[in-house]
């Protein structure tokens, strides 16, 4: 019963706050894939420590976990670019009206598409399906007839390649 409750609570938190947590992580790291990893770590950490949650303000609690994760990320040695206070505030203000926010998301998706296209086959197709078109692994398996395990491995490798590609692009763009 308790397990079901914990899983239901996790699912509800993801539904309600995944955009917020992902946005916080992205604004602070400026890296699409690291933001995704940090958002995942945030929810998993919340799930693991659910017994320590007082049940009062889940939004603030999740934000605290996310900021802690981002802090660890930013403090870790060898990080490329840490946003300054100005950069962080500007990045938030720049996207205030909805159309501009859409433009930013479109740019981000274009960047993601370009990175995917630079990968070699079969990783290019896998990355395009999973990261760009956001098709689940189960659906990909049904579509391509490939084994789920094979696809999981290919997604994992494609992600590592995309991270490298993404950072290279970022360096070129300054």
């Amino acid at each position: 019963m308790r397990k079901i409750n914990a899983e239901a609570a996790l699912e509800q938190w993801i539904d309600n706050y995944q955009n917020l947590i992902f946005s916080i992580c992205f604004q602070l790291t400026n890296d699409y894939f690291d933001a995704q990893d940090l958002a995942q770590e945030t929810f998993l950490s919340a799930y693991k420590n659910m017994s320590a949650f007082d049940g009062k303000n889940e939004r603030a609690w999740l934000c605290k976990i996310a900021t802690n994760k981002c802090l660890d990320y930013l403090k870790a040695a060898g990080r490329r670019q840490i946003p300054t206070e100005d950069q962080f505030l500007i990045s938030c203000r720049d996207t205030s009206p909805a159309p501009e926010r859409d433009v930013m998301e479109k740019e981000l998706r274009q960047e993601l598409y370009d990175c995917c296209m630079q990968l070699k086959s079969p990783y290019k197709e896998v990355a395009l399906d999973y990261f760009y078109h956001e098709i689940s692994i189960g659906e990909m398996a049904a579509k391509t007839g490939k084994n789920v395990k094979t696809l999981q491995t290919q997604v994992y490798r494609a992600k590592a390649m995309l991270k490298k590609q993404y950072r290279k692009e970022d360096l070129w763009n300054g």
Partner: protein
């Protein structure tokens, strides 16, 4: 290099405040929600749920739940132990009192006082030692959890 580190300090300070204070965490959430909210990748939810079902995550989640129950049980145990010690001391006192009444001379009174003092001190040392051990056990189990 040093310069860039100096520039990074304020945002880290903001984050440190947000990571420790509910109020600042709320303000950060408001700021991001009103000005920079983005759509999370569609596969984020499924990847979190899949990861949460894995054994290592389940084990940590369960052990954290269990440790809370254990902490409560441990606290109860300490209270009961303290109560038992108190009862022991109280029960030992009437015996001393009877011996005190039985003896007539002042020198005997003094020796009984000293004897009582020694017994109480001995008891106190044992209780201190026991509570110290219990405390160390608690600390080491907490450290293990933290690791």
């Amino acid at each position: 290099m040093d310069n860039s580190n100096d520039n990074n300090l304020p945002v880290i300070q903001i984050l440190e405040q947000a990571s420790s204070s509910e109020f600042y965490a709320e303000r950060l959430a408001d700021l991001v929600e009103t000005h920079g909210l983005m759509t999370a990748p569609a596969n984020l939810k499924s990847s979190i749920l899949a990861r949460s079902k894995q054994l290592d995550v389940q084990l940590i989640a369960r052990s954290n739940q269990l440790s809370k129950k254990l902490a409560l049980w441990y606290y109860g145990f300490k209270v009961v132990l303290a109560g038992v010690c108190c009862v022991g001391v109280i029960l030992s006192v009437p015996d001393m009192h009877e011996r005190y009444l039985r003896s007539g001379s002042t020198s005997d009174h003094r020796s009984i006082h000293i004897e009582t003092y020694k017994v109480i001190q001995e008891l106190q040392e044992k209780v201190d030692d026991l509570s110290k051990r219990l405390w160390e056990m608690g600390v080491s189990s907490y450290d293990k959890q933290e690791k």
